[in-house]
């Protein structure tokens, strides 16, 4: 029996495998003990740096970093088995935690998965030797500044490492022993590899950055398997070490988070499983350990995505289903076949695509080689306003569906090209002259150390240093676009109840006086998400039309514009400018998120929703299209419940899905958590691409989660 209970939606509770002190450490970390400490020191003042005025941006950055690593608090937690901590509060707020005259100097970097393998395999010493040995003869002065900044950043990491060596020498000999070798030298054992990885991760976060980790099993698995074969460690021991890393990853959890779109969204992604270039499954002992740890502790701070394929081991799928059943949305899945096909079609070289990870939510990228940014766009608004002119202007009439679709597709092209060109204008000032160099926004030498191409090119992560630069146009509102088109087709052209113009006039009046028709549209017409071929055809058409609209930008640029589908949480803010919709909803209602159905319209169950979602060619949505599925714990009890989750995942893959997040939610628990937030500090839910502790969501967001869980307001 353990003294600590980690919340679960499954009435059978969570297994206990870790030792009591590790569980104690986890509970304290999850309840915000270390987050509170982190916030005590928001930043390090760097007013004393001499010669600041004469320095270049890069010199300032590394000079400030030098002060930061010498003055930041050093933290060693009781019970930890890996060392190093991101102890400055401004990092939690996405800023580089240094300030002059009380003002923060730089924002930090997120939405990327770096390659921590560089540090694990080379060590600081190896990285230094490689960078020092580089041929810089062709570098201009700015490139040399960046080159120097990399070496000074390595200096800073070394200084920080020295402080942990010092702090552990007497009191923590076991930690000290490991630190004597790593991360200075290449890791040789599993424990060293975990320490080295964690040290790099914590270092970047100390500097305020929010990196993802990516395919941790591919990186650490070989070390563990070697140690296991040599009898140097056991699975139980390895689990304790790795759990320490997961628990320390919660060190930014705050005791009293400001409520908003939720915490636990520092983009600390982990990707597991999948195949390599030979088609062989790569699942290894580390893949299992990661899932076992979150199965036991329910930690959601590292959003995990599993790459599923035809030969995903049965036991691994089973473990995955067990983790899902506890709720919290800790693990989501990719259908690897779809993702690989999408990346291939985008033109990524074949040898790169098997390494894919994501930006922290689910937008796919090649880790350690990609600059990523995305442009969210509300395509429901484009339909309602630009095509139908519901809100203002002269309402157009249309003779048939083809006319509407033609006008909409044309408008999509304009919107997509405007988005692509205006982001270029912002980031790449000289692109019209053929120069695709990004404008310098700020120095990023910490990141540059872990991104391939930066040291070699003398350019930073934000300055085209990486081999791939991705600006991804994102379609928002696709579920509602499908439902709107379906409703127009039914009402105006099949049943011929009224003309498109008349319908739009009604929408302009927010359905006033036409409540019956609104109800009819809401309840009696085919909707996306129920496996209805007619409604799904509109969805598939919209996805295709959007891909076509982005196609002119797909090739021929040194920057990629791969499309994707998302709203994340924007369906909440988008309410403000959206009008009433043809499928019966009024102005101001919260509509569909990501690629999911409009709330309240999906009545045929999860399998039908998956079938609808898979009706589009999702390989054309290169950066991804996320489907959120919410389930009640009662349907997932026992062996059958696990089989059902496995079946759901297998069907999702067989039908060509892209990314699916399953959350298991009990409305009663959520309602109770609203009443007594103090009892539910650690209850996490999948929000919209990330996890958040439910009690840190503000009222709107909590309602959204509740409604997706099947709660009908007023009941």
């Amino acid at each position: 029996m353990s003294a600590y209970v980690f919340p679960s939606a499954y009435k059978g509770g969570r297994p206990v495998r870790l030792c009591e002190s590790t569980r104690h450490f986890a509970m304290e970390s999850l309840q915000g003990k270390y987050g509170a400490q982190t916030l005590e020191v928001p930043y390090i003042p760097v007013d004393d740096v001499l010669g600041w005025e004469r320095m270049s941006d890069h010199e300032r950055y590394t000079a400030a970093l030098d002060v930061l690593v010498r003055k930041c608090p050093v933290r060693i937690c009781e019970g930890e088995r890996v060392c190093g901590a991101a102890t400055l509060g401004a990092g939690v707020r996405h800023q580089v935690p240094v300030a002059r005259e009380g003002s923060i100097l730089w924002p930090s970097v997120s939405h990327l998965t770096v390659d921590f393998g560089i540090l694990v395999r080379e060590g600081i010493a190896g990285m230094r030797a490689r960078i020092e040995g580089m041929d810089t003869s062709s570098f201009d002065a700015p490139a040399m500044q960046r080159h120097d900044a990399l070496l000074r950043t390595l200096d800073a990491m070394q200084v920080w490492h020295g402080r942990y060596l010092e702090a552990t020498r007497d009191a923590y000999p076991h930690l000290h022993q490991t630190l004597l070798r790593v991360p200075m030298q290449p890791a040789e054992s599993f424990a060293e590899a975990v320490q080295s990885l964690w040290f790099g991760f914590a270092f970047l976060r100390l500097g305020g950055n929010w990196p993802g980790i990516g395919c941790i099993d591919r990186l650490l698995g070989p070390y563990l398997e070697r140690d296991l074969a040599a009898g140097v460690t056991t699975m139980d021991e390895a689990r304790e070490v790795l759990a320490s890393m997961f628990i320390k990853g919660c060190e930014w959890i705050e005791r009293d988070t400001p409520r908003g779109s939720g915490d636990a969204q520092h983009y600390q992604n982990i990707v597991l499983g999948g195949t390599d270039a030979s088609g062989a499954d790569v699942t290894n002992a580390v893949s299992y350990l990661c899932l076992e740890i979150v199965e036991e502790l329910g930690i959601s701070d590292f959003p995990i995505s599993v790459r599923l394929h035809d030969n995903t081991p049965k036991e691994f799928l089973r473990l995955l289903a067990r983790v899902m059943r506890h709720g919290g949305g800790v693990v989501a899945v990719y259908c690897e076949k779809t993702v690989l096909a999408a990346l291939r079609a985008q033109g990524y070289p074949a040898h790169e695509i098997y390494d894919f990870a994501n930006d922290g939510c689910w937008e796919v990228q090649i880790p350690g080689k990609t600059y990523f940014s995305y442009m969210p766009m509300d395509f429901l608004h484009v339909l309602l306003q630009d095509v139908l002119h519901v809100a203002e202007g002269e309402i157009a009439d249309f003779a048939d569906m083809d006319a509407i679709k033609f006008a909409y597709a044309e408008r999509m092209k304009q919107v997509a090209s405007h988005a692509c060109e205006s982001i270029l204008d912002g980031f790449v000032p000289a692109w019209r002259e053929g120069d695709y160099t990004f404008r310098l926004q700020m120095p990023t030498p910490m990141i540059d150390l872990f991104e391939h191409g930066c040291a070699e090119s003398g350019r930073g992560y934000l300055e085209s240093g990486t081999p791939y630069r991705v600006l991804s146009p994102h379609m928002g509102g696709v579920g509602d676009v499908a439902n709107a088109l379906s409703a127009i087709e039914q009402l105006c052209f099949m049943e011929k109840r009224l003309s498109v113009k008349q319908l739009c006039e009604i929408l302009r009046k927010d359905w006033q006086g036409e409540e019956q028709l609104a109800l009819y549209a809401k309840h009696k017409l085919p909707h996306y998400g129920n496996g209805d071929p007619a409604a799904d055809a509109h969805y598939a058409w919209a996805v295709n039309a959007f891909a076509d609209a982005c196609a002119p930008y797909a090739k021929g640029y040194p920057i990629m514009f791969p499309p994707g589908i998302s709203t994340f949480g924007r369906q909440i803010e988008w309410r403000a400018h959206r009008t009433a919709v043809p499928h019966g909803y009024r102005r101001g209602e919260i509509l569909a998120g990501n690629t999911s159905p409009t709330p309240g319209t999906d009545t045929a169950g999860a399998t039908a929703t998956v079938r609808s979602y898979c009706a589009a060619d999702l390989t054309r949505m290169t950066t991804g299209a996320a489907l959120d599925i919410k389930m009640h714990p009662g349907t997932l009890e026992g062996e059958n419940g696990l089989c059902a989750l496995e079946g759901l995942m297998q069907g999702f893959c067989a039908l060509g899905g892209y990314f699916m997040q399953v959350d298991v939610l009990d409305v009663q628990t959520l309602l109770d958590a609203r009443k007594h937030p103090e009892n539910y500090k650690t209850l996490s839910v999948r929000v919209s691409g990330w996890n958040a502790r439910f009690v840190t969501l503000d009222d709107q967001w909590q309602r959204m989660v509740l409604e997706r869980a099947g709660y009908v307001p007023g009941e």
């Binding site: 019956q516 109800l519 009819y520 309840h523 009696k524 496996g531 045929a604 169950g605 999860a606 399998t607 039908a608 998956v610 079938r611 349907t635 997932l636 009890e637 026992g638 062996e639 059958n640 419940g641 089989c643 059902a644 496995e646 079946g647 759901l648 297998q650 069907g651 067989a654 039908l655």
Partner: protein, 297 residues
């Protein structure tokens, strides 16, 4: 030949192994006092009326050919005796306050619905025929044949009150029966379900002779089906069967009540019928002590 289907439910995890699609047929010859699916008892289609969802628009009143829907300033009701189950009201009702139960479908149509989820069944899931009494549906054999032809795992939930010829004809196409035993005492069985159990037991024996796997299912209704003698007889019955995997104990839940109200019937649900945890454990132990496997999932 078409069959009357009450509902097709997807993503079912309580009607057999794995992820399943369950087809609920309309019509049952028994009348269990605790019936939790009262909307499936009658063979004819009927309309359920959910008061709370009604906005009083009156559309159903104009649509109803028999005057069964009544709506005046201070009277809103449906006269069940006048209703012919034509479904006209449900078609015009915009709020789903009126819902028709009972759609006639051909075997191929049902199969097509079931196959849409084939990608999700994996190695364990499949289709479950339930009810009502699925073995009383005309054309059920044809449906079973079609399901088997398409490689589906087929499970039938039955209470066994059906034509023995249907049982024999169905058996070759069924992977497993979940067979309800309402009560083992003939007199009580008659009182509680309105039917004599002789035919039911004969059908069970026939299924076993034909070599099809069965699981016996016993609903625990406090005071009605919780006596020791009943479970002793269940153990004896189990011992006579060669292909029975065990007994599953189900807990009574008074959820038929809201459905009964929607059907215009008196609420037959009773809180005092809910069995206690101790009664369930006691029954399970009794069975186990007599060598009967007690199945949970």
């Amino acid at each position: 030949m078409s069959m009357r289907v009450a509902e097709i439910q997807r993503f079912c995890t309580h009607d057999g192994p794995g992820l399943r699609t369950t087809v609920f047929f309309k019509g049952c010859p028994l009348r269990c006092v605790w019936c939790h699916n009262p909307e499936t008892q009658k063979f004819a289609s009927e309309v359920m009326f959910y008061d709370a969802l009604c906005i009083g628009c009156g559309a159903c009143v104009s649509a109803c050919p028999t005057g069964a829907q009544v709506l005046t300033q201070n009277d809103r009701r449906r006269v069940v005796s006048l209703c012919e189950g034509c479904g006209a009201c449900a078609r015009v009702c915009l709020t789903e306050a009126c819902k028709i139960v009972g759609t006639d479908m051909r075997a191929e149509q049902i199969l097509a619905e079931v196959l849409t989820d084939a990608a999700f069944y994996g190695n364990t899931g499949g289709v479950t025929l339930s009810g009502g009494e699925p073995l009383c549906a005309d054309g059920v054999i044809e449906l079973l044949q079609l399901c088997k032809q398409h490689g589906l795992h087929v499970l039938v939930e039955t209470a066994g009150a059906c034509d023995p010829d249907t049982v024999s004809a169905a058996a070759p196409y069924v992977d497993e029966f979940y067979f309800d035993i309402k009560h083992t005492d003939a007199q009580k069985h008659k009182e509680l379900t309105g039917a004599d159990p002789t035919l039911i037991l004969r059908n069970l024996a026939q299924i076993d002779r034909l070599g099809v796997k069965t699981r016996l299912r016993c609903l625990l209704v406090n005071g009605l089906t919780t006596d020791d003698a009943h479970f002793a007889h269940i153990a004896e019955l189990y011992a006579t069967l060669k292909h029975c995997t065990g007994v599953q104990l189900l807990r009574y839940h008074p959820m038929g009540g809201s459905k009964a109200a929607a059907l215009g019937l008196a609420d037959s649900g009773r809180e005092e019928w809910i069995p206690t945890e101790a009664q369930i454990t006691h029954a399970a132990n009794l069975l186990l002590s007599r060598g009967v496997p007690v199945l949970t999932d």
